[in-house]
Amino acid sequence: MTRPTSLLALTRRSLTPRSSPSPRILRTGTLLHQHQPQSQIHTTTAAITSKTTTKPRSTPQTPRSHARTYHSEHHPSQPHEYTNSQTTILSAALHHVPTHGFTRNALTLGARDAGFLDVSVQLLPRGEFDLILFWLASRRGLLRSKVESDGLLAGSGSVLSVDEKIQVLLMERLRLNVEVREQWQDALAVMSLGENIPMALSELHALADDIMNLAGDQSVDASWYSKRMAVAAVYAASDFVMTRDTSAGLRDTEEFVARRWADARALGDKLTGVRECLGFMGSTAVGLGRSWGLKI
């Protein structure tokens, strides 16, 4: 009975800024009400990966030269970029997602809140899918800011391994979806429509890429691909589990993520073992052949 109100409260809490001093992605919706320049909103939400834009950031916590990964400073922009008006409507519409879901109604209400007309949702040619993509992109940016600014991974005393960091990040990203948990299966259904699959997958890849980068993965071999695929697969599977999870603090999902990640590691280890075994057998065969006088 009290679920809708509690969900709303939850949303409001997480959509409004806590007490951090500098404007962050989290604030997109509230920035509007504070009459901040729109360009800033645009920067904080859409330019999540591009550092060249004027992101209002105080002193960087780590010098960029040390934190450099294989992520380019001039990372190509996202496949979906929004204009100021689109961002305004979408951020306002996010407030209506917990009650109306990822639907055109939420978009319409967002447009009305932003001072537009009902007809103005024509600004978003993909309709509700634009809202979903915006949600994904903004939550991804939120995850990045949590690590880079709020010190998500630096909190505990001991230094985490890359594997542990990945799990923490996966769980953190899943927790960001909790407030729309009731609506998320609908969103997944929209994402699985044929015309939407390419963009949904590219967004999933962007998330996996971000998680690997934030976890400090430095691989430059074929495992670059396999690790990202593993992260993407674990995330996609846990996303489903999360929508059905009723345990306190997403404990079941957390265990699920840990199991799936262990499986992925085990599979990787098995593959490495098989490869090494084949390598040994091959070199043994070559050695045997040579001992028999074959010219190999």
Binding site: T83, S85, Q86, R104, N105, T108, L109, A111, R112, G115, F116, L117, D118, V119, S120, Q122, L123, L124, P125, R126
Partner: protein
């Protein structure tokens, strides 16, 4: 053999002007009569514009277009079906469905929007689009407050639309209005008063398209949408060849056989050819001050027609 000669006749007829003696009792070719009027003596300092493949003084285009559409008004629907093989209905349905007219959500206390849309359908004489939009608003969005004003420069087309509106539930209600007017200047419509401005297969006949776009920008409310469906450029070369053959050979022939008016349909296909490409027209919409959503246009049936949209920004 016979098929070859038919093929040849189809090809040559595009270039051949029929020498039909003008008779007082039957308007076989109204366009030619309009063109037969002697040009004004001060024509040399006048600006010229396209009328099909011909250049005509700007002052005359309006009346010539009027003549064309007066002559096709009665057979408009049959001809559209035959020329487009019925596809124009799919286009129009798609156009209306993507616009989704009507407010599905009730208006909240502080909302300015949500009390029905004010739609202006330009060049919508026969009511094709207007009735579809009203149907969509009523049946899909359960919005009985949305109203449409049909504006057309041509009283004959408006008469056709009025005749058809009798069959609809909107006849004689305040949801449907008819207005005779020129889209380049509509002083009777106040500024910032329209939610949605549509012009379907009409804008290529306008004498000054940019002026019409500017006028659309004026009458629309901030946040209002300009939506336009118009014939455009086919992007596939092979399909384009087939399409050109069809439009320059078959359409004037169908016009001659069905509507008894070849020249009007010759003008129709020529005016399609003269209309700017998708990208050029998008530039014109932007020039008028509109915001462009995404790519700005959507091609239909390989680019034979395209839907263009623009949104008037908030201040």
């Amino acid at each position: 053999m016979s098929s070859r000669s038919l093929w040849r006749s189809l090809q040559t007829q595009t270039r051949r002007r029929l020498a039909v003696p003008e008779t007082p009792y039957r308007c076989f070719s109204c366009t030619r009569q309009a063109q037969a009027q002697p040009p004004k003596p001060n024509a040399d300092d006048e600006r010229f514009t396209h009328f099909g493949f011909q250049n005509v003084p700007e002052s005359q285009k309006e009346s010539m277009v009027k003549t064309v559409f007066s002559s096709v008004a009665s057979s408009y629907d049959v001809m559209n079906d035959m020329m487009s093989l019925g596809i124009h209905r799919l286009w129009k349905d798609h156009f209306v469905r993507t616009l989704n007219p009507g407010s599905a959500l009730p208006s909240r206390d502080h909302d300015a929007a949500g009390r029905g849309w004010n739609i202006l359908d330009i060049a919508g004489g026969t009511g094709d689009i207007a009735f579809r939009m009203l149907d969509h608003a009523t049946n899909i969005n359960h919005d009985t407050a949305t109203r449409v004003t049909i504006a057309d420069i041509n009283p004959d087309m408006l008469a056709e639309g009025k005749k058809r509106s009798i069959q609809t539930p909107y006849y004689n209600t305040n949801r449907l209005d008819f207005m005779e007017g020129n889209a380049q200047s509509m002083p009777s419509i106040p500024s910032n008063s329209v939610d949605l401005y549509t012009v379907v297969f009409g804008i290529r006949n306008f004498t000054d398209k940019q002026a019409a776009l500017n006028e659309a920008f004026r009458v629309l409310k901030p946040g209002g949408v300009f939506a336009c469906m118009e014939f455009s450029k086919v992007d596939n070369a092979l399909f384009n060849a087939v399409y050109k053959q069809w439009s320059f050979s078959a359409i004037p022939l169908i016009g001659q056989l069905v509507a008894g008016d070849r020249e009007s349909y010759q003008y129709l296909v020529e005016s399609i050819e003269q209309f700017p490409s998708q990208e050029e027209f998008r530039g014109m919409i932007q020039k008028a001050g509109f915001m462009i959503p995404g790519r700005g246009f959507e091609n239909l049936t390989g680019g034979i027609a395209a839907i263009h949209k623009g949104i008037k920004p908030l201040n």
